[in-house]
Point group: C2
Chain length 457, copies 2
């Protein structure tokens, strides 16, 4: 199976779908569990239920708390064990009224959304002249006096990528832009949404103020609005914008993780964590970010349970507060980091098809890798040559050395929707969701039943 | 050419593109004007300029007035004659603050937009129980006591159609739904947006209160929000919604039409009207509705002018207030209805490619019809068998008997965008816009130079 492992190109040339005859090396139970999971209805029901009956679930809010209650009840009803919420408290940035308009030379409204931890303008708002920087590099290179006292406006030219890598590259405008602008003396910053769509749906997202940076109002324009403002700027006349970005900072708000388990037969074999996050941004109903992830890991754990008691305990971690800095991940690691984690995984990139599997396992586990690759090949999933990295909610575990497997999803349309009002149920394709459940079921089945040590002494 | 006229099916089988060899019957100047128009840059510049430098242009507002000033200056700069605004006054429904939320059983916000002439809830808003009707027919059939005191919520299942006909069929929920609900005693009405997209961008639009119907608050939910509310209703528990739809009614507000001409050599040959509308809804910048239409007719008139003085005067009519009832069309007809109109046309369906031409001409003009069909065939346009009907801004002229030609545009994606915040410049395809200009140039050239009488004595 080494050929498959290094054979991503061959898999792609076959249209991503390997014929079943190539999968004869897979254990019989991989085929059975895969076939059953391709008919799964749990992931859809979970996603539909959470997004409909709870809706948006911002971290540290009563809506997130309703999400936890909903998930605990649902996971119990589905027959999982040790279901409970694990509470913690956190600081919360709370969005208030937001609006923007071009005052001169061409008066008109702009669609925007505040970024997490934005400074507040107060209800009266602020007005200033726009200083445009086509890219974040242009802002970095600008002398302070080109920014001081102005509203910095930062563009970019982000395009969709299957692996989502353009988010990492172009997201710097959101992550670092506000602090850079603040240090250069800007009174506010507007960025072009870190998104690949052309809808009036601005993309929010968190940003953290760098050491020494004073919070200033910080917001993202929708892509069409950013293009419009750039056209207005290109006319060459001074452009003045009025911004209202009201927000407040709250302390000690309740949040929490939700845990559920499929108990294993061998307590010494370590735990397999299947993670997702329950919180969402406030604009949409958090369907692809990340109700589907929670639906996928729940459905897959139930597929393994249905096939019999696994050797290892599968622990579902539905983290809180992923969107705003990972308070849930930190709380989980504080409570459970010392327990033996045989393997950790996360689903947090929508519900479009898995196209690649990446591994980070201790040496000597090539046979397990090959079994997994063989089990995934009939789903059109190639084994990649990149090292798995996990997701935000398992990051502390990965950093501490836990083995990790990534089931990479197709991200081509993910950043059309990510963190916008458009992250809603209608964007989820039930057939691709089922392919995700099948991939996860194969991997959880192999890993939870593996006779290998996975580094557990 | 009779074969082409009745040969729409054959044209479609050829992929909509007839080979140039079939166009040999076209006059040489049709080919020249078509080739020049396919390189047109005026329509794009007009559309980009109006949407950027003016933006939204609601009827009877200062923004619409800025649109008129902009258009007058632009048309003069382009070298057109007799350029002027023709003012009138009108009643205006003015949108205020709008918001909605599900109060119970699953609290969450809903994205909605008020419909034209909606009643106002006042700032405090109203709350009521939802009565769901999957289609307008279900609302019509419902006994009054199923609606009285409730918020009627009307769905539909509209899909895209190339000819836009589903708008006529499903639009009844917007046009008649509010009056029907009011007469049955509803305290408000929500409709699923008359749209074919899945974005959180609700579609507004005008509705007129029927004789005897008391105005009630009336709004459209975005398609995803309507689907969400329907799912909530399907849970079987009473659903309560809070609505804030603030609006006011103003009288005697200034509006107006803008007129420009390419003067013809024969004043007795009658006028050819090329119409569009300058106003737009307030949510977007009115790019496809109808800045492109004004760009197309302007560019085409200039192409004819460039080829020489036409026999007939071409009069560009950029109407005001099309979106809210056609005050501009009424004012034009009142001022100019008695003048001899040889032929009238309108572009008001976006800027995607023209695929069909329809005619309504006096008998005995088959040769002109054939010349036009031959000139359009190289652009992939088939001659349809349906009778042309014109658009809203020329409706009084058509009703009075003016000959009319329709260049039918592809409406497949038009109702994804129509009357939403997403009607912005980025939705316009420059190449398809040029195909429109070419089609219009061919027709205006043939009609304005035709030796036929076109009914003018």
């Amino acid at each position: 199976m080494q050929k498959i492992r290094s054979g991503t190109l061959a898999a792609l040339l076959l249209g991503g779908i390997l014929t079943p005859s190539l999968a004869v090396a897979a254990p019989a139970d991989s085929k059975a569990i895969r076939d059953a999971a391709l008919k799964d209805e749990v992931a859809w029901a979970f996603t539909e239920g959470l997004t409909t009956e709870v809706g948006p679930r911002p971290a540290g809010t009563p809506q997130e708390a309703r999400g936890r209650e909903w998930a605990v009840a649902k996971l119990k009803a589905l027959g999982l064990s040790n279901v409970r919420a694990e509470p913690y408290t956190m600081a919360v940035w709370a969005r208030g009224h937001e609006a923007a308009r071009i005052v001169a030379p061409f008066p008109q409204n702009l669609a925007l959304v505040g970024l997490g931890n934005s400074g507040s303008t107060g209800e009266a708002g602020i007005e200033g002249e726009v200083a445009f920087f086509p890219t974040i590099a242009d802002l970095v290179a600008a002398p302070d006096n080109a920014v001081r006292g102005k509203i910095a406006f930062v563009g970019h030219d982000m395009h969709p990528t299957q692996d989502g890598s353009s988010y990492g590259q172009f997201g710097a405008a959101r992550r670092q832009g506000p602090s850079i602008a603040s240090k250069k003396g800007a009174i506010a910053i507007l960025i072009k949404s870190i998104g690949t769509d052309h809808h009036r749906a601005p993309h929010t997202g968190v940003q953290m103020w760098a050491e020494g940076a004073t919070p200033i109002p910080a917001a993202a324009l929708s892509v069409p609005d950013a293009e419009q403002l750039a056209r207005v700027v290109a006319r060459g006349k001074p452009v003045r914008v009025h911004l209202t970005l009201v927000s407040q900072n709250l302390t000690d708000q309740p949040s929490g993780n939700v845990i559920a388990e499929v108990p294993g037969s061998d307590p010494k074999a370590g735990i397999v964590v299947a993670a997702c996050h329950l919180d969402s941004w406030d604009q949409g109903t958090g369907a692809i970010d990340d109700a589907t992830g929670c639906g996928i890991v729940t459905a897959a754990a139930l597929q393994v349970k249905k096939a019999g008691t696994p050797r290892r305990t599968i622990r579902i971690l539905m983290a809180g507060a992923e969107e705003v800095g990972g308070d849930g991940a930190t709380a989980y690691f504080k409570a459970h980091g010392a327990e033996p984690h045989a393997l950790v995984m996360e689903s947090d990139f929508g519900a479009d098809r898995v196209w690649r599997v990446d591994f980070k396992l201790p040496t000597g586990h090539e046979d397990l890798t090959n079994r997994i690759a063989a089990g995934l090949a009939p789903l059109g999933i190639g084994a990649g040559g990149q090292e798995a990295g996990g997701g935000a909610d398992i990051a502390p575990l990965v950093k501490a050395g836990a083995p990790v497997i990534d089931l990479q999803q197709d991200g081509t349309r993910y950043f059309d929707l990510h963190h916008t009002p458009d992250d809603t149920l209608d964007k989820v394709d039930p057939a691709q969701l089922q392919q995700n459940v099948a991939a996860w079921s194969v991997v959880l089945n192999e890993v939870s039943n593996a006779s290998e040590s996975l580094g557990i002494k």
